[in-house]
């Protein structure tokens, strides 16, 4: 049992538990907090996969940005409706069965994986490599992504503005 295995087991437990919390807790606000935990745990998984830069991005954008937006949204709607939103679930059994089936379907492929191969060497500093890639071969998609973000921002503003 190496340290890495221990770390993976720990973060996997945290990730799965918080994920289950997201989908099972009746309180929407708590669900968002569980989501934040799950996102952070995902970030730690990235860390385990030697991608510290992505860990940072995950924390900043997801755990920071998304969760903040969702909290805003919940609070806004709660303020409008005047009561705290209790969320309920429907067709739990059906959903569970189908989700399990999808997992089994994916797992069917996973068991066919070739036996564990060792991790290949990682080229130097990942952050530098990603930075070069973004301004090199991926420059065009990167710029388009910037455009997409601006458009999404404008769209969100348009939707959320109060009626004239």
């Amino acid at each position: 049992m190496t340290a890495e295995t221990l770390a993976f087991a720990g973060v996997a437990v945290v990730l799965l538990a918080s994920s289950l919390g997201v989908v099972l807790t009746p309180n929407l606000f708590h669900a968002v907090l569980y989501l934040a935990a799950a996102l952070v745990a995902t970030g730690v998984v990235f860390l385990l996969l030697d991608a510290p830069f992505l860990f940072g991005v995950q924390l900043l954008l997801y755990a920071g940005g998304v969760v903040t937006i969702v909290v805003f949204a919940i609070m806004l709607t709660e303020r409008l409706v005047g009561t705290s939103i209790r969320q309920t679930s429907r067709y739990l059994v059906n959903g569970a069965l189908l989700s399990a089936a999808v997992f089994v379907g994916v797992a069917g492929f996973l068991v066919q994986l070739p036996p564990a191969a060792p991790r290949p060497a990682w080229p130097g500093d990942l952050t530098v490599a990603v930075g070069r890639a973004l301004v090199g071969p991926y420059a065009m998609p990167f710029e388009l992504l910037g455009g997409l973000l601006v458009i999404a921002l404008l769209g969100a503003l348009y939707f959320a503005r109060s009626e004239p």
Partner: protein, 620 residues
């Protein structure tokens, strides 16, 4: 050579004139709607065509018999020469027919103008358009140098016959008669078309002249020719109203009387005789068919004559008489002398047209077709005289043409020792004289029935046409008499007693009619009682109409019902079922669109699962 090309061009012009008239009347609406204009166009075209026909006849020089009289152009191109050709064939036969068709067409069109004067203007335009089309088709038929072209025009004249019989299409009887004529002649045409196709596959050509040349050189497959010629003969049976396909012709009298005169007496019905005459060099190679033709022709002649004796409708009497005379012509061809048959055709064309046109005047005066309700016309007017001239010609009284042509046929039949047909024809000759004079005595000489017609007004055009035709008949008869008595043209074949025999037959028929219907010496009822079975059968047209009606009902109507059932329940059912099923399926499928996003996610997930399963299955 130049003369021949000239004759062909003239013949083409004769053909083109009525066609141009038809196109004008068919396409130019104001012309068709205005009856005088339509009649002028049509009659002018016909007059010019008649002039052209006369010029063709007189302008053509006699040429060596080995030269082809046809001028043809290729029609259906194929590897190794055209499959079929079109053109005109200008020889003695077609020129005579050209003259007859244009002459009778012209006179009938002039006569129609007066006869149908009370018709609505628009339908009169239609009438003349049909007439022009008919003239074109008939001329094309007689000028055809190939079987295929002849078949095309053959069907065209059949179409015109259908259109003109059904000219008063709002009368159920006329509409039914038109359909009947069309169907029954189609039965024969089936044989005709099958025959020419088989002929083509046996010889590779439709061309008359090529076929005749092959026949005279002995390169035709003679064994195969008998069934082929039999099938072609079937076409003539339908068109020329031979037994058992004669039933359409009496019903065709539902059409206007001038139409009956032109199409169902003088020209179209003789197309069958023309066909067997034209193709006689081929028929000669199939003696079995010729024998059949002679017997059927003679039997038809007698059968129709017997029916004419009991018929009361003047037009139907003439129709039966036409059938009977067509039987004569067919017997002549079957006896191997198409010339005699064709001469009778020409003579008959003129005097039978006159009979019908005269009957038209009689009907015009009495407003009825029933001879028993006529009578006394002799005292009022002399319009009956042309009719009587034609009757004498038909009955075979010299010096009128019917006497000579009939006698020639009888002589030829006797010469080839076909005694059975000879006896039948002789009896027919007697009956012909009898039933024709029965009509004459009843219509013109008997005491008038009902209210008397004081000097009935008959338009000049009608009487003039009748007089002209009567004069032509007389002139033709005198010409034939000159040939027979002075030229000694036919004397070598016929035994010396034959002219006296036929004269005696005619006299006996006339005498019997006189005794029965004018003198009253013999009561017709007693004769009918004595000949009870024949009378009973003849009045019922020997049950042949019933047989055809039964076949029609049995086959055609059953088939129609079957088709109707298939259409109503299978085709419609399929479509209705399909649309109902689509509607129901759509209703069911609507349920899938719940509008709930998560239900769609279920679908996506299930689809993904399906892909997983497929992928697993493929990997294995």
């Amino acid at each position: 050579m130049t003369a021949r090309i000239g004759a062909a061009n003239l013949a083409l012009l004769v053909l083109a004139l009525p066609f141009a008239s038809f196109l004008l009347l068919a396409l130019v609406r104001p012309l068709r709607r205005s009856a005088p204009a339509a009649a002028t166009v049509s009659i002018t075209a016909m007059a010019l065509a008649l002039a052209g026909a006369v010029l063709t006849r007189h302008g053509s020089v006699r040429r060596a018999a080995t030269l082809s009289p046809s001028t043809t152009w290729s029609w259906i191109p194929a590897d190794g020469g055209p499959m079929a050709t079109v053109g005109v064939m200008v020889d003695e036969l077609s020129m005579s027919m050209l003259l007859l068709v244009t002459l009778v067409s012209l006179l009938v069109q002039i006569y129609s103008w007066a006869y149908l004067h009370d018709e609505p203007r628009a339908s009169l335009g239609r009438y003349y358009a049909y007439h022009s089309l008919f003239a074109f088709s008939m001329l094309g038929l007689v000028l055809s140098p190939t079987f295929l072209q002849m078949f095309v025009f053959w069907e065209l004249v059949g179409l015109c016959s259908y259109l003109l019989i059904g000219f008063w299409y709002d009368r159920p009887a006329a509409a039914r008669a038109a359909v009947k004529a069309f169907w029954i002649t189609k039965l024969g045409d089936l044989g005709f078309v099958a025959g020419i196709v088989m002929l083509w596959s046996a010889t590779g050509t439709f061309d008359f002249w090529a076929l005749f040349t092959m026949g005279s050189m002995g390169t035709l497959p003679v064994e195969a020719l008998t069934p082929i010629m039999f099938l072609i003969y079937l076409g003539a049976v339908g068109k020329s109203a031979q037994f058992p396909l004669h039933v359409w012709l009496p019903d065709a009298m539902e059409g206007p009387t001038p139409v009956s005169a032109l199409i169902h007496a003088a020209t179209m019905v003789t197309a069958g005789v023309f066909l067997v005459t034209r193709a006689f060099p081929l028929f000669r190679l199939a003696p079995d068919v010729l024998g059949l033709m002679a017997w059927v022709g003679a039997f038809t002649a007698l059968l129709a004559a017997s029916m004419a004796c009991v018929e009361g409708d003047i037009k139907r009497v003439l129709a039966y008489s036409t059938i009977s005379q067509l039987g004569y012509m067919m017997t002549a061809v079957g006896a191997g002398s198409p010339d005699a048959g064709f001469l009778h055709l020409l003579a008959h064309g003129v005097f039978k047209a006159l009979l019908f046109l005269g009957a038209g005047i009689v009907i015009h005066v009495f407003h009825t077709n029933d001879v028993f309700r006529m009578g006394g016309l002799r005292r009022h007017s002399v319009v009956w005289l042309p009719f009587v001239v034609a009757t004498l010609a038909l009955a075979g009284v010299p010096p009128l043409p019917g006497f000579f042509t009939k006698e020639a046929i009888l002589a030829d039949v006797l010469e080839v020792r076909r005694f059975g047909p000879f006896v039948l024809l002789a009896v027919t000759a007697f009956l012909t004289a009898f039933y024709m004079f029965r009509v004459v005595f009843l219509a013109f000489f008997a005491r008038p029935h009902g209210r008397a017609h004081r000097e009935p007004h008959v338009p000049l055009a009608m009487t003039a046409v009748c007089w002209l035709l009567a004069a032509l008949t007389l002139a033709h008869g005198l010409q034939l008499a000159g040939q027979a008595w002075l030229g000694g043209h036919h004397e070598d074949a016929a035994p010396g007693w034959l002219p006296w025999f036929s004269l005696a037959l005619a006299a006996a028929g006339i005498g019997l009619a006189w005794a029965m219907y004018l003198r009253g010496a013999i009561a017709p009822a007693r004769v009918a009682a004595a000949l009870r079975p024949i009378d009973w059968m003849a009045r019922r047209r020997y049950g042949l109409d019933a047989v055809f009606a039964g076949i029609y009902r049995g086959i055609v109507l059953a088939f129609a019902r079957l088709v109707g059932w298939v259409d109503r329940y299978l085709v419609d059912g399929l479509l209705n079922g399909l649309s109902a099923w689509t509607l129901r399926a759509g209703d069911r499928l609507r349920g899938l669109q719940t509008g709930q996003p998560q239900d769609y996610v279920y679908g996506v997930a299930l689809g993904a699962l399906l892909l997983f399963v497929l992928a697993h299955w493929r990997v294995r």
